[in-house]
Symmetry: none
Subunit: 453 residues, 2 copies
């Protein structure tokens, strides 16, 4: 049986196995899922072994383990390093899921469940592509090294220590990642740019303890009001971030790239529909695609304080909290931006509150020269695997590891994404298109054959 | 034995009986304490009977029963209606109590336990004052009606139905309440003003669902940012509420009242210590006491949205929430203020979010003319009972029942409070000063004698 025929014959088997993977609630953010994380790591290790990889290792870190496997039986052929992650975002709010987050369910050609698109489904595409090459062609056409980590959703805290410790062993000619999205349904895509991500937490303390808003209201600082006032000053009326020097190092895109971006079959109407808000808002002077892919942002990702239960409680809280993040673009420096953000926030706050400012993570932006031959081989494989025209795109999200690898290992990074922008990664009803899942397996298998040619 | 001598001779007995009352965990907020609520109601009924009251009734409501008793054997003398409550706030967080919340303990002249100050201790003061009059003087000098309810801490939901159903029976010449605080230790006080309270909840919806802040950040409305921007506009730089016409009906206090307020032995240093914030902030042009008692406020009592768990989640939330409240002063109209607040909030919001605005409750402010003879009799009784100079004060909090009674029954309301501002009502380590407890019993007994004179 030929490669594509073999993959087609295994559809049901592959899908059932993926569901098994998705049922493990491997949420990396909360300690209660520690055991599920372990289970997911072992599950990945077992499937790598089944795909014919060797020297399988589950390496503990200070938090969640890294799974490794390799196959080095193609002398003279390129060596590729595949990276993915088996951890997922928390599933909350649970009541907004149509079917339970960890009970994968197919509806209308899509598989629903936490991790379907980000990133378990895409990791599984790769494992099954390798297995198909082993079983249908008698072996892997290239040398392959696989790492699947468990801390991507919390900032890949310990991954880099693992990478540097295993630097010699992990050497490769290219890094392959599938943790991104296609531009749209029916438009297979290679991502050549990512934004960086800094994540911050702010804790304000006003009164020493919660106070009765009747007895004390009108004379004491309310940290929720003060936090709101601070956040309100983080953007100007043109939706530009007000942190001084925030845009100082931002590289303007070339006229050629801008033209290419505007030629993409990107549908504003679809985007508006996905967002579902009454109106959009973004930095003045830039198209939506430019805002999303080429401009830095400041977002409030969470905010809380005081009484948040049912009904009424007349409290002036002692504390108010916000989780903030900045998306970064070339050539912003994350450490420098973190300092500027902290300085600005402290400067905006009155002396009636104390501020604890924490940088939870930092991550650099990344852009690749997609004229490199490996990118051309990748895009042709996508076009064969999907039987559709493929495109080069950027993305607004962040994969810190890609930037680190690019900088430290000096190898091209090829981002073949099989998600879709409206598949609710990080949100309720996350899903993956089955067409993209199966097309992904074919494309990856074809890509490795092309790399060996 | 004279009245005061009798009360002094019963100190230990009174204290032990109060401890018995406090050991019943009559928390009204949670259904698990339903039986304790019943026990507390029966305990009160039994002690009213022991104090010589008649026609004792425990009237069930949709939630917690109201206890009633009366003594109408003083023809030609005034009739007073006493109101108190036997329910208490939840004791959580339990680990912050020095001694257990429902095991009353004396330390350094204070009795610690949930309900000591709010309001079981104060209800007990009244029961023991009545008993003392019966036993030491051979009868009550005035006609008295007593209601002790079990829902005060959850908004007195069913009390008003009870009041209107028993309207004729409850008629009186004055309402007496002990559920407030003295200005400070050693300063017996009568509260002649309370602020009203409107409570609101705002729900903003931006995107139709939570979105990935990488994929969508920079082009979509973030309801947390927009909620913050709205809240930031609710106060101007002088900490005045910006709602148009908010201050229009606010009555300025008279120069005489302002002078009296400034003469009070109110200690700013103590207040700052209790608040424990790095600095205070309040409406410009008013003293702290004026801000707390005579000026309306707008406070954020709770706020939430997005990811509020441990670590990082890169989400742009679909929804953001705030609980807001306004404290009101004479002659603001709660219904009118609620409309103005809603209109202002809607006007401040951009069209990129939808807003659901709910008024959870409204409540009128109240001020009494303390030159009325009954107030003069009350303050002289306090001075005799405590052997200290007593003062007239206002309070920033709200007791909706007082306003309702004042409006519906057209009677003077006399608020004799025996708590202290730092006795942790609603918080761990709630306590009452034993001096105030015993002084309270004497003052109330003397007050009823004075009323009959």
């Amino acid at each position: 049986m030929d490669l594509i025929g073999y993959i087609d014959s295994k559809r049901e088997e592959h899908l059932n196995e993926l569901k098994e993977f998705l049922r493990i609630p491997s949420v990396s953010a909360t300690s209660e899922h520690k055991k599920d994380i372990e289970r997911a790591a072992h599950w990945v290790a077992e499937k790598l072994r089944a795909a014919g990889l060797e020297n399988i290792e589950i390496t503990p870190t200070k938090m969640h383990p890294v799974v490794y496997g390799e196959s080095l039986h193609a002398p003279g052929k390129p060596t590729v390093l595949f990276y993915g992650h088996y951890d997922v975002q928390p599933a909350e709010p649970l009541d907004l899921w149509t079917s339970p987050a960890f009970e994968p369910t197919v509806r209308a050609g899509n598989l629903f469940g936490r991790g379907t698109a980000d990133d378990k489904g895409q990791v599984h595409i790769h494992i099954k592509a390798l297995e198909a090459l082993q079983n249908a062609t008698g072996g892997l056409p290239v040398n392959i090294k696989v790492i699947v980590e468990g801390e991507e959703e919390i900032g890949s805290v310990n991954l880099w220590e693992f990478m540097t410790k295993n630097r010699e062993r992990l050497k490769s000619n290219a890094l392959i990642v599938s943790d991104t999205s296609m531009l749209a349904k029916g438009v297979p895509s290679i991502t050549y740019g990512l934004r960086g991500l800094n994540y911050y937490q702010v804790e304000l303390t006003g009164p020493a303890q919660d106070l009765h808003s009747g007895v004390f209201g009108g004379a004491v600082p309310n940290p929720l009001t003060i936090l709101s006032e601070m956040i309100a000053k983080l953007h100007d009326k043109n939706f530009r971030v007000t942190v001084p020097d925030f845009y100082k190092d931002v590289a303007q895109i070339s006229p050629a790239e801008r033209k290419a971006l505007h030629r993409l079959p990107w549908k504003e109407k679809e985007f508006r529909k996905t967002v579902g808000a009454a109106a959009l808002c973004g930095e003045k002077g830039y198209s939506i695609v430019e805002q999303l892919w080429t401009r830095p942002t400041m977002e409030v990702n969470g905010m809380w304080g005081g009484y948040i239960g049912e009904g009424a409680k007349t409290v002036i809280p002692s504390k108010a909290y916000a989780k903030l993040s900045t998306r970064l673009v070339p050539a912003q420096n994350p450490a420098k931006i973190a300092k500027l953000v902290e300085r600005h926030i402290r400067a905006l706050l009155p002396k009636s509150v104390r501020c604890d400012f924490q940088v939870l993570s930092t991550g650099k932006p990344w852009v690749a020269p997609y004229t490199d031959p490996i990118f051309q081989k990748a895009i042709h494989s996508l076009e064969k695997g999907f039987e559709k025209k493929a495109v080069f795109i950027r993305e607004g999200g962040s994969i810190p590891f890609v930037t680190q690898m690019h900088d430290a290992f000096k190898v091209p990074c090829v981002l073949l994404g099989f998600g879709l922008p409206d598949e609710n990664a990080h949100a309720p009803d996350e899903h993956i298109s089955l067409d993209n899942y199966f097309g992904g397996i074919k494309s990856i298998a074809l890509f490795y054959q092309a790399l060996a040619a």
